[in-house]
Subunit: 393 residues, 2 copies
């Protein structure tokens, strides 16, 4: 009956969201989502700021506000960006409903049907789904432990003159957990400048580093205003507020503001002001330190348990930060098919296939280590190891 | 440098948002926005619920949640829909970031470049801008004091076989303030069924009726699941929460959920839970009664002052509810040009031209009566009347 737009043929249910539904089965141990640990949320502090925001500024907090976002929050963000070695100004920050909205806007602003998005292989499935809605095609570029392979990127650019942007997650990449070297970051900028391309840098996890040194964001190396940086408080603070941001310049940034107007006018004033009040009154750095300590232990425990419980020929990344470990299994294993058995055994992960927009890779999976407690990590990984060993018999 | 998508040629700054910036000049009396009166926000109650939500359910309130929205809030909405004579279920409700997001999604789901949207003339400029992003064209249908003229609508449908949907605001329309008769509503459904069209019913003001009887929503007359209903708490409660909803059925509704996933995963959990807790603990009906009393007085005062201060040949609507009065002036007056002088004299309105996607109508304006207090209504309307009289000399 209803005649939908052509793009709707491309829009399918996000497998992660569907899997998250499965994982609400009581008693399941889920390594599927990318959820932060709720036991670490600073509840007393949030109770104080929630009360304060209404008490002190209730009329403004409940009213319409500017599309760009609450100015004091944007100023806080400018200060946080300095940690990524990015020097910017509040006028270059647009508050979005999570960084997912920044991804959707990037598709809307740059992509016509048939346009090419260049991305890492594998890449974040939420981004792939957001871009697909604009009827683009994807070119995956191979990655190694130092990030996207630059000779492969250049070849891909040359073969695809209608590429519009390069989408990258250089820090603790989703799903691989890998971090790009400084050289690769510099080379990416050189290539973007040379071939006149936009770079969308998605950095939800950059502040969650458990070892090694912080590297400068790609945006900090941007010499021509062609990097659009997407940030979020979902992983460092709390996803329920839905506060992310876009950092960009000039005409490009102005397009994001225009698109935000038509999309939903502005992000929740309440969410913005509660977060901003938290940043006024408390130290997010202290909070991040607490998170890092817990997540680092969980990562270590997961890796140790995998070493004992997983098949000897399973390969996996050892991420220096972020939320995910990426597992490559012998080709005999199809992780999409195995998921049903896993859920029956009350353990869940994300099958890797969803992270490859084109290629048909069935033997990978993404494991999250931030959301389950230590006990469940051991039980769940042992359970999963057993299933994998049985599947290989 | 950056190569944007073709749709970006269509996306311009919303004149209302730009005017709202102008109207932040201190001391200006603005009838431009569609803002509720902030002095009526129930601050003490909201302070209590903001505290309670974190205290009782903080971990869930700050965490990711389902795309569809917080179930208890959706159940509250089902109950409110009964007042519009709509019988529905929580599974048919999707929480959006204001009803503006429902408008954007409607464009995304149904419109390919060149498709036709049929709308009232004039129509809501935020909707026009949202749909334009999907490169559609508009066919305006003439309206009178009973709403869209049905013989004109049928003619328009017949002339435009690639029309995808009819966008209507049947209650206290934005900008005209007019309300559709029951007969027109019934006929709209007959025509939608006959010609296989979707109807997008936008109803932000329906509960704000100051006189006369409530009429059934178009959605309540829907026999084939082809009306998508957009609701919001922005006008009856508080816009800063950014809580709206889509009510639809079956496959069509499922498309909205899919698009929401890609657009921003979900609406702010904090906003949803604070509103839901308010609806648990307090009476929104009582709050709406308070609003109605104040807005009714402001409408009456504005109309009385217009009668004395405006040129004798100015025509204007007498809305039975909502937030707006629509003014038609002698053809000699160009309200877009007059706006500059008006702002210099510290009074603002929205020039009518933005509400006509195609036609070139320069002699109309929209006046909001909810956001200014009684004193400012009298001063502002007298000031505006003086400017209009001078412009006609």
């Amino acid at each position: 009956m209803a005649r939908y737009s052509k793009r709707m043929e491309k829009i399918k249910a996000s497998e992660i969201r569907e899997i998250l539904k499965l994982t609400q089965i009581p008693g399941i141990i889920s390594f599927a989502g990318g959820l932060p640990a709720p036991e670490l949320f600073p509840l007393e502090k949030m109770e104080a700021v929630a009360k304060k925001v209404i008490h002190n500024d209730g009329r403004d907090a409940l009213q319409y506000s500017t599309t760009e976002g609450f100015l004091p929050l944007r100023e806080h963000i400018v200060k946080r960006m300095e940690k990524m070695q990015i020097k910017t100004k509040a006028e270059n920050i647009l508050i979005t409903s999570g960084s997912q909205q920044g991804l959707d806007f990037s598709g809307k602003i740059f992509l016509d049907p048939g346009d090419i998005v260049i991305c890492e292989s594998p890449s974040y499935l939420g981004a792939i789904n957001a871009f697909k809605a604009y009827q683009c095609e994807f070119r995956e570029v191979e990655t190694d432990e130092k990030g996207m392979i630059m000779s492969e990127l250049e070849k891909t650019i040359q073969e695809n003159p209608n590429a519009k942007f390069i989408y990258v997650i250089p820090d603790f990449q989703n799903p691989s957990g890998r971090t790009w070297s400084l050289e690769r970051r510099q080379r990416l900028i050189e290539l973007a400048n040379q071939y006149d391309l936009i770079v969308i840098e998605d950095n939800p996890y950059g502040e969650l580093r458990y070892e090694g040194e912080h590297l400068p964001a790609v945006k900090s190396l941007d010499t021509e205003g062609r990097v659009v940086y997407l940030g979020t408080f979902s992983k460092t603070f709390a996803p329920g507020l839905r506060i992310g941001w876009v950092c960009g310049e000039g005409e490009v940034h102005n397009k994001y503001i225009l698109v935000k107007q038509g999309a939903d006018l502005q992000t929740s004033t309440i969410s913005q002001r509660e977060l901003s009040a938290f940043l006024d009154d408390y130290s997010l750095d202290d909070h991040i330190e607490t998170i890092i300590e817990v997540y680092k232990n969980r990562r270590n425990l997961m890796l140790e348990t995998m070493k004992k419980a997983f098949p000897a020929d399973a390969k996996y990344t050892v991420p220096e930060g972020g939320l995910f470990i990426w597992v490559e299994l012998p080709k005999a294993i199809n992780t999409t098919e195995l998921m049903k058995t896993a859920v029956e055994h009350k353990v869940a992960y994300v099958p890797g296939a969803s992270f490859f927009p084109n290629s048909d890779t069935k033997n990978t999976m993404r494991l999250n280590f931030s959301n389950m407690n230590e006990e469940n990590i051991v039980i769940g990984i042992e359970r999963l190891g057993q299933l994998l060993n049985e599947a290989l018999k």
